[in-house]
Symmetry: C2
Subunit: 409 residues, 2 copies
């Protein structure tokens, strides 16, 4: 088994780069570099049946991932996360085929793991020893985790109001953690500085070529788990958008490989954002090709989608339009209500970003955008367990042990 990676190619201007040496973004236009594979060759030697005997991890697709030598793979058994049918909620909404892909069931508890297992593996393969990134929390935790596993030094810069759980995660995994009195873009400046001063490799979103390759596996898994017939609609919470862009890349690669059912169209991709930070929704509605200016006063309880100016907005908007998808915004109160609905109705403990997809789905049904018999997949990007601060536990009564046998409801 080996990787069919050929080279890197700028996703914006098309310029090509050597995949065997360290690269960050396109030196001509600043675009994100995508990994290109020799799919013609892969087609003849790599069959979807080969997957059957493999471990249920995202590395089962390693022919289509950028790591060349198996021993460089830095893994904790991540990926191939469950897809759960939610019939009870589906019935209430009048949908016959409603599913949740649950990336809460993965090391570090969020989908950020996907990007970090591939990026850190490639970092190891390229002989890099120090990495750094700016993170709102979860990406930092995943970078720290996979760096620890690889024996690589990791520097994480976080806004000081990042969730406590992710600060602890970084610390426990031995990363160097620095808090910044500002937003994620302010934290990013520390990374730029340190990169120059100390030679760190920057792992921030879409500033290197390999996190998107890990995110791409979301698309491979969805295809395989639905037996190579893609759903009609995928609803995805959009912050940096690497997942959306990555899934689309996967679907294209799968078509080229000839693995998808021939009649099967690619899904319509729906971006969900919070009203408090909806730059993609705004740009989509206005017919813009990119997010031209940062969304003002960005605020939402779903920290993972509080990205006022996504670096890949051009790519995100292209995917939404190419797929005949759409973009919708939801209230924070709808997000909290959807978390509760998914918990109480289906036993799914999702993160606020994941819950946003159910809230967004409501809008799509209300405005008739969806057919009731379509197969719809909601993407949950992380476990609710990482967001204790979002749950307001009411004061619970404490009972004396003396009243055990006289207790009444």
């Amino acid at each position: 088994m080996h990787s069919y990676i050929l080279e890197l190619k700028c996703s914006r201007c098309g310029r090509k780069y050597d995949a065997n040496v360290v690269q960050s973004v396109c030196t001509s236009c600043g675009g994100t570099l995508f990994s290109m594979y020799d799919i013609e060759k892969a087609k003849n030697k790599f069959a979807k049946q080969d997957l059957q005997k493999r471990t249920p991890s995202l590395w089962r697709y390693r022919e289509m991932l950028p790591v060349k030598i198996e021993k460089n793979i830095v893994t904790l058994g991540e990926g191939y996360t469950p897809i759960t049918r939610i019939e009870r909620i589906g019935e209430k909404l009048g949908l016959k085929q409603l599913y949740v892909k649950d990336d809460g069931i993965i090391p570090t508890g969020t989908f950020k793991t996907r990007g970090m297992t591939t990026a850190i593996s490639k970092v190891k393969e390229l002989g890099i020893s120090k990495v750094a990134l700016a993170s709102a929390g979860n990406a930092g935790g995943a970078a720290a985790t996979y760096s620890a596993r690889a024996g690589i030094e990791c520097f994480v810069f976080m806004p000081k109001d990042a969730p406590e759980s992710t600060k602890k995660e970084c610390y426990e995994m031995g990363a160097h953690v620095y808090l910044v009195d500002g937003l994620i873009n302010d934290a990013g400046k520390f990374v730029v500085n340190g990169k120059q001063k100390y030679g760190w490799f920057e792992l921030s979103t879409l500033k290197e070529p390999y996190r998107v390759e890990g995110k791409k596996t979301m698309g491979y898994e969805i295809a395989e788990q639905f037996d190579w017939i893609l759903p009609d609609v995928i609803v995805y919470p959009t912050g940096g958008g690497t997942g959306l862009v990555g899934m689309w890349k996967a679907f294209n690669e799968l078509q080229e490989l000839g693995w998808l059912d021939r009649e099967n169209k690619k899904p319509r991709m729906v971006s969900v954002q919070s009203k408090g930070c909806a730059p993609v929704v705004k740009a989509f509605k206005e017919g813009k090709e990119s997010v031209e200016e940062p969304f003002k006063d960005a605020q939402t309880i779903a920290g993972g989608i509080r990205v006022p100016s996504p670096y890949a907005s051009e790519q995100i908007l292209k995917v939404i339009r190419a797929s005949q998808g759409t973009a919708v915004e939801v209230d924070d109160s709808e997000i909290i209500q959807s978390m509760q609905t998914l918990g109480k109705q289906e036993g799914l403990n999702v993160c606020p970003e994941g819950a946003a997809t159910l809230a967004g789905l409501g809008k799509l049904i209300d405005n008739g955008w969806l057919e009731k018999n379509e197969r719809v997949l909601l993407y949950n990007t992380g476990s609710g367990l990482k967001y204790p601060e979002v749950v307001n536990l009411p004061k619970l009564k404490v009972f004396s042990k003396e009243v055990a046998y006289s207790f009444e409801l």
Copy 2:
């Protein structure tokens, strides 16, 4: 596909019970009831090769699980958790083949899920509508989760000092949560009372037959993931001990099925407990057949193994001795250090109970109980993410965004 369950049998006195009606414990002697299968029949119709195409969840072994009708399975895609080799730590300890089975990567974040997916499924199959249990936290969270998924009403009684994360989990999943000013056995009295008054089905540890069947899948998975050659030693954190007893049941069933390599012996089973609550270690050393009196002033940061008087102590001690295993105790400070070692050296974010196994392993090496070339598996029972209170985050310095470009390490 169907279940080969035949009947229930008391694990102590051998009395048999009908598996098609609601049962709790043996009405003669109070022993836990075990599910018995028609293995002779299964042998001819169920082959380990059948597993290859199945979903990576513990329900892949459903012929050997008690649920008869597939639509009664209450699942969130749980199980078939990763086994991760820890070479860096292994090398330091002089062990060539050291692994961690990571049950942190599962819905609810702990191994309690295994028992609850099977028990709640069977509860559904038997037409029960209300369940109750006493729990130190994680079992309550898992019961609440699977009850929500099944549409069953769930009553959880917890000591008031149960972890905040598990209280929130129960609440989010729609369970009725009651706090008790006392220990888990005090909470248990409320369940006994409510059972009589309100007809609840009791799900407390080993008070019903089906949680152990879910825990048993730990053994099936270990066997399959190691290609049907069992490890030499399994180190397991022992509280209630259902997992230990369940794995042993699995290994016996697998032998009967003829699925294990013929030369392969069953593993030596090692119980690890905390010095602050080590009733099994004490009984083992004293040559006792059971824990005769509760361990006094039980106290440890590893709440899951704070069980002063395990209901199944007889079974636990039998398994340890039958397997030529042993029992060791560790300090809480060693547990915390092991958590850090697993995080910083291997990127594994484990719970205190899981970390205890690494601390225990140190003792086994120190006293020469282990051969250096033996294959050893440590069992991590949950994610460290559920135990934020165990991590003492030092006060991190906050940097002004103005100093980004002048920042130095």
